[in-house]
């Protein structure tokens, strides 16, 4: 899979202030892979260029938000520069995404809701595992918690509603489904997702740079592993 800025056409976009110290480049208002190409193209640009006064940039589904120091430049000045950059981006080279494999021990104590998700969709638990571990998922953005990926690409055949009452603690590494979304919990947190498995790999590693395994634009593949593989992998990482 290679990304290009909407087939060589200049992207349509809006630039808005987010207060007095941040600026939003908005390519649209839907969740859409084509549209996300533009986000990735601008992110690729920022991977190689620092703008004057820029503190950081945050990609999301359809936007890139840039935090900047208003002492270094006023809003309209950055606005103008960004318009120029985005116009040039149409000719940006294609970039191959990074592929990150996430091993998952499905079912059992790690996936207490696997049976529910299967029943809800009139499937066998093995089918849910097979369907969940087949596609290439795109990491549209990281948010909600450190290293938590907003993934696109889950099959509607394993969609399931959130739990009626959220769990107070969801263990680190839990893989869940909520509606037609799937995700992995990098830290322990309360949550209402249906849990189908757990990964032994750490998605949030605060002592490393970068501190998370995933970043926006990555492609994720889930690989089923046995509980023994899970345990030996955990033992190794300790």
């Amino acid at each position: 899979m290679a990304f290009s800025v909407i087939k060589g056409k200049p992207a349509s976009f809006q630039i808005l202030p987010l207060g007095d110290a941040a600026i939003v480049v908005k390519f649209g208002d839907t969740i859409d892979r084509e549209l996300h190409h533009n986000v990735q193209a601008l992110e690729n640009y920022f991977a190689h260029h620092c703008l004057q006064g820029m503190i950081e940039h945050v990609p999301a589904y359809a936007t890139v938000t840039i935090y900047y120091d208003p002492l270094q430049r006023p809003f309209h000045d950055l606005d103008q520069e960004l318009r120029g950059i985005i116009a040039e981006l149409a000719a940006a080279p294609e970039a191959d995404p990074r592929i990150v494999e996430i091993p998952v021990s499905y079912g059992g104590e790690f996936g207490p809701d696997l049976e529910f998700v299967a029943r809800h969709n009139s499937l066998k638990p093995e089918d849910v595992i097979q369907i969940h571990s087949t596609p290439d998922y795109l990491v549209y953005m990281i948010g909600f918690a450190p290293g938590f990926p907003y993934l696109g690409g889950m099959s509607q055949r394993i969609a399931a509603p959130r739990r009626d009452s959220p769990r107070l603690q969801i263990p680190v590494g839990s893989v869940g489904i909520a509606g037609s979304q799937t995700g992995v919990y990098p830290i322990e947190t309360p949550g209402g997702w249906q849990l189908i498995g757990r990964t032994p790999i750490e998605l949030f590693r605060p002592r490393e740079i970068p501190p998370t395994r995933l970043r926006a634009g990555d492609v994720v593949r889930f690989r089923p592993i046995t509980i023994e593989e899970y345990n030996s992998s955990r033992a190794k990482s300790r």
Binding site: G19, E56, V58, P70, M141, F144, Y150, R215
Partner: protein
């Protein structure tokens, strides 16, 4: 030789100016709720402005000083006493070894900052010493202070060491020595009914005319569901012209978002990096410290200004802080 926590207080955490550069990884900024008070408390003890200090919330801790220490307390007036004697705020204080600093009832504001010369000896985690409560990292062991914790200090600057020596030589029966001059108080606002300046938000036009008018003409109350993550407000219901979904995008400190039920939330220091609610407005950076000092029950009003206007306020505030820092350095050299 350090500071021992005899009582932790309601919520006492180590905070600096926040953790920047990692929001794209979902790592929140956190940091001091009132960055202005933090910066000034650091300047007063000769630290860099971004150094980590204690953020003390409403009901403060009891801290035993196990060595002579130069401190400053800024922000809220939470009735600080050392060995029973009232401690003045917004100035350098020499605290004698063996003295006990305690806090009483909140008189004005809700968050105080205590800087120590040299700063607290806690590790930098992801380039910051701020406590990231939800992830359990940063600050002191990733959590609020508890009884029995011992806080170690890093070496004070030469400037602060000289200051400490001079103040300790003053003959005094008191458990502490304070300067007669003070700085920064005039920059702080502690009204219970402040007007908060805002810039129009990205989805302002999703709201009907009546709601947009109500937003800037009616007061909103800060509810009890208010913490370091954000303040839930109660006021006129803000209605959407039609139900619309926003796909998640970045949010920042001071973002005023409105969930479908129509009561706004102001995001504060521990906000998530992204959010999916419509943003009606965004608080001007210079008014964040005003919000940080509000208590539940406070009434606020919003006044819309332009981005340019907010940036002008930002620049003039920074210029005042710069001159204040320069002035404090002069006072410390000349007036002791």
């Amino acid at each position: 030789m350090s500071i021992r926590v005899n009582r932790p207080g309601l919520l006492t955490t180590i905070q600096d100016l926040g953790r920047y550069g990692l929001q794209q990884y979902g790592v929140i900024v956190s940091g001091a709720m009132d960055p202005l008070a933090l910066r000034i408390s650091n300047l007063l003890v000769g630290n860099e402005q971004h150094e980590a200090a204690l953020e003390i919330t409403l009901s403060g801790p009891a801290l035993l000083f196990e060595r002579d220490t130069l401190i400053a307390i800024t922000g809220a007036d939470l009735s600080a006493v050392i060995d029973g004697q009232r401690v003045p705020l917004w100035r350098p204080i020499f605290v004698k070894q063996g003295s006990l600093l305690e806090f009483g009832s909140p008189i004005r504001g809700s968050r105080a900052y205590m800087s120590v010369a040299g700063g607290f000896d806690v590790p930098l985690v992801m380039q910051s010493r701020s406590t990231y409560l939800r992830a359990g990292v940063g600050g002191f062991k990733g959590r609020p202070l508890q009884t029995g914790d011992v806080l170690h200090l890093r070496s004070a600057s030469r400037f602060a060491t000289r200051q400490l020596k001079r103040m300790s030589e003053k003959d005094s029966e008191r458990p502490f020595v304070a300067t007669t001059w003070f700085a920064g108080l005039d920059l702080a606002t502690y009204a219970d009914d402040p007007t908060i300046r805002v810039i129009s938000g990205g989805q302002n036009d999703w709201f009907d005319d009546e709601s947009r008018e109500a937003f800037v003409s009616e007061p909103f109350r800060v509810t009890k569901q208010s913490d370091r993550m954000g303040y839930r407000l109660a006021g006129p219901t803000l209605r959407f012209i039609q139900p619309r979904e926003l796909v998640s995008e970045a949010v920042t400190v001071g973002t005023i978002q409105v969930p479908p039920e129509g009561q706004p939330i102001i995001l504060m220091a521990d906000r998530p990096t992204t959010g999916g609610y419509a943003k009606i407005a965004q608080v001007a950076t210079v008014d964040i410290p005003v919000l940080a000092q509000l208590k539940p029950g406070a009434q606020i009003r919003f006044l819309t200004i332009s981005v340019e206007g907010a940036q002008e306020l930002y620049r003039s505030r920074e210029s005042i802080i710069q001159r204040l820092g320069c002035g404090i350095a002069q006072m410390n050299i000349e007036k002791q």
